[in-house]
Symmetry: C2
Subunit: 455 residues, 2 copies
Amino acid sequence: MSLTITDELTGQKIVIAGGGIGGASGALALSLRGADVTLYERAPEFKEVGAGLQIGPHGVKMLEKWGLKDKVFEAGYLPERMQFRDAITTEPILTMDFGEEFQQHYGGRYLVIHRSDLLSILVEAAKEAGAELVNGVQVLGADTKDDGVTVRLEHRADGRAEQVEADLMLAFDGIHSVFRKELVQDEPVPSAYVAYRGTSDLPSDPEMKDLKDVVGYIGPRCHFIQYPLRHGQLLNQVAVFQSPRYLEALTNGTEVPEDWGNNDEFRQAYGHTHEFLQGRLHHMWLDTWWQMADREPLMDWVVSDRVIVMGDAAHPPLQYLASGAVMAMEDAECLALYASQAASDGELVWGDVLREVSGERAPRCARIQTTGRFWGELWHVDGLSRLIRNETFRQAGRASWFPYVDWLWDYDAERREYLQDPAKGELPAELKEWEYNLHKIARLRDGKDEEQITV
Amino acid sequence: MSLTITDELTGQKIVIAGGGIGGASGALALSLRGADVTLYERAPEFKEVGAGLQIGPHGVKMLEKWGLKDKVFEAGYLPERMQFRDAITTEPILTMDFGEEFQQHYGGRYLVIHRSDLLSILVEAAKEAGAELVNGVQVLGADTKDDGVTVRLEHRADGRAEQVEADLMLAFDGIHSVFRKELVQDEPVPSAYVAYRGTSDLPSDPEMKDLKDVVGYIGPRCHFIQYPLRHGQLLNQVAVFQSPRYLEALTNGTEVPEDWGNNDEFRQAYGHTHEFLQGRLHHMWLDTWWQMADREPLMDWVVSDRVIVMGDAAHPPLQYLASGAVMAMEDAECLALYASQAASDGELVWGDVLREVSGERAPRCARIQTTGRFWGELWHVDGLSRLIRNETFRQAGRASWFPYVDWLWDYDAERREYLQDPAKGELPAELKEWEYNLHKIARLRDGKDEEQITV
């Protein structure tokens, strides 16, 4: 690996709170522009929960720009296609080929990679680029001054407090961010869906050994994803379903059970799907499950002239567009790019850069969050809606599905397209009337609305 | 008008019961092959209830074959396009152009015509071709013998009974057919939808004077159709909506009110639609409304070797595919064609002809009936389903909608395609799982099924 380091941000001292994929990307992208970066991660080591992660071509292009192409291609897997199938019949309803035409159109490959592998590569690269990555230290807060920011730290091992001075602080501190609270007092919004995951050895699995694609079985109130990982040695599987107990509590306004989505619910959740899916469920881990949640879009990420929230702290999405990690990488690259451009022009004013970054990134991430909610509901429809949905997918396959994905995968922060037209952050006009079902349920529950609740 | 009369069926005495569009078409098609046809209609004159009627290119080709092209084009209207719009937003979601490409593809124009105008033209043509059309006489029954059929009549004016001998009897006696009862003891199936109609002077209507299309506004639980009639001098409007009281009675198993779909329901039914639609509703007739009903498909129409049910007696459809009249015309032409072909080959055995006709026609008409139910449900979906439906329509418009309509409009009984492959009478595989909502409601009401009822 040979990283190319430039000097636009030389002399700028930047602190990053949080050592997930977003924070590590920030450390790398800024170090590559010569900044003096220190990243603090409260956990004793850098690690990611979960298994596989999908990186669209816009993300792969960034990894390439950061000099990591060979590393991630070697660690990950390049699926030939993404295929949606009906979970009841297993009929393929949309096949998205990742071959020549795709690569020419989007200028990059489609990659799947183990979360921990991607994080390791980013962490190593950031270190190689000169960033200091520190474990076991929590960022508690930051006090903005005229000429910089004082970041307050706590060493987790001994509780020792410390303060460091910096020009800028990036809060990549995740969905439970402490810095987001300075902008908005909101809570995560559970989606009523829960994910089970599992990995197994791909070549030894007779049913799956020839899998070369990302395959998503989508069906009423559930879906199931499969793809190879680690250059085809590992099979990644994710089973996501709607929790009846969560939904009931939400609808009736009663207390939500702590263990919603538990193993009992998991065992019931796929009874209406094809037996192939049901057969695959015994490969899942039963001891852990993930309650899927996002937050409402946040349209201003700038905490102060020296502090900004990014990644999941700013825009935790539902997982349906497989864009959480790439959004955080985009945030990192966008900030590094705009700052280095301003510095090259001799006009590096951090407050201005942060506002520009927020102006570009917030509408885009809002669009991804909102579309993710829509996409999830589209996957999980039942009855006549499901048949219509299947036909829409088939039609998109027969014509071209590019128009549906261009907004997501054909993106480069350098174009500043959301700054020029923030309305691009809204759902397309055809979906303006769409209302997130969980919003609707809450409205119906809280109001006197007599409209029937159907999810 | 110059009719071409051939002689394949010369000497065959054929009685037709019922003088609607189907019966008149039968009288014409058979007379044109030289048969000796007598048609009995119990009403004192030939008339049709309702207003406009749509004739697809397959129907127009038949009218052309029967020598009526000039007459029907002069009496009717040739719309430039059919356009579906969303009833809530009025956004056009699918425009089907009836221009050059359409005409080349289907070999005919698309025609709309007043029902009574079409009936008059058919009646006049049948008479000119030599058929005897008798009013005020009801066909009570028919007794099949080895060498023919004795048809029992009653003169409505004085109750006088009469018997006539014939080689064949066609029962075009409508949705309440007495002959259908000999095949199946079923009842009409109300769809929970009701239609209001209205005609007005098109040129004097400032909102509508430029209308050149068939326009259908489709929305949740209702739709609204507009098109010009009588070479553009008349505006035909149809408002169709779901009756909440019918549905409630059906769901709860309580008594259905006689006046379901009444004016009170009509005034409530369009509150959620665009104000343009609401404004048009005062043009509708309030004193009459039509409760929309069909029957379950009937797969054998042959009452005996000398008697067959046809038209609405065999296959009353819902109106959504605008195919009721054309199906009856197809029945008539199919019988006349197969009989004259058999006669030409010196093999006219009526029982064989009837079975061949039923074998070709029953699967096709079943497909139209079933697809009509599906089509109606597709028009009336709400919420997320509506947004997906709109996108499916848009996609079909961007690509080509021909593949969706070929089975309906590209038909010629001469090809005997349903005889060769009766499975063509089933819904396409993609819709196999679809279940008519009224079936589902009845099943849920009668059973102990706990599945939620949503219509």
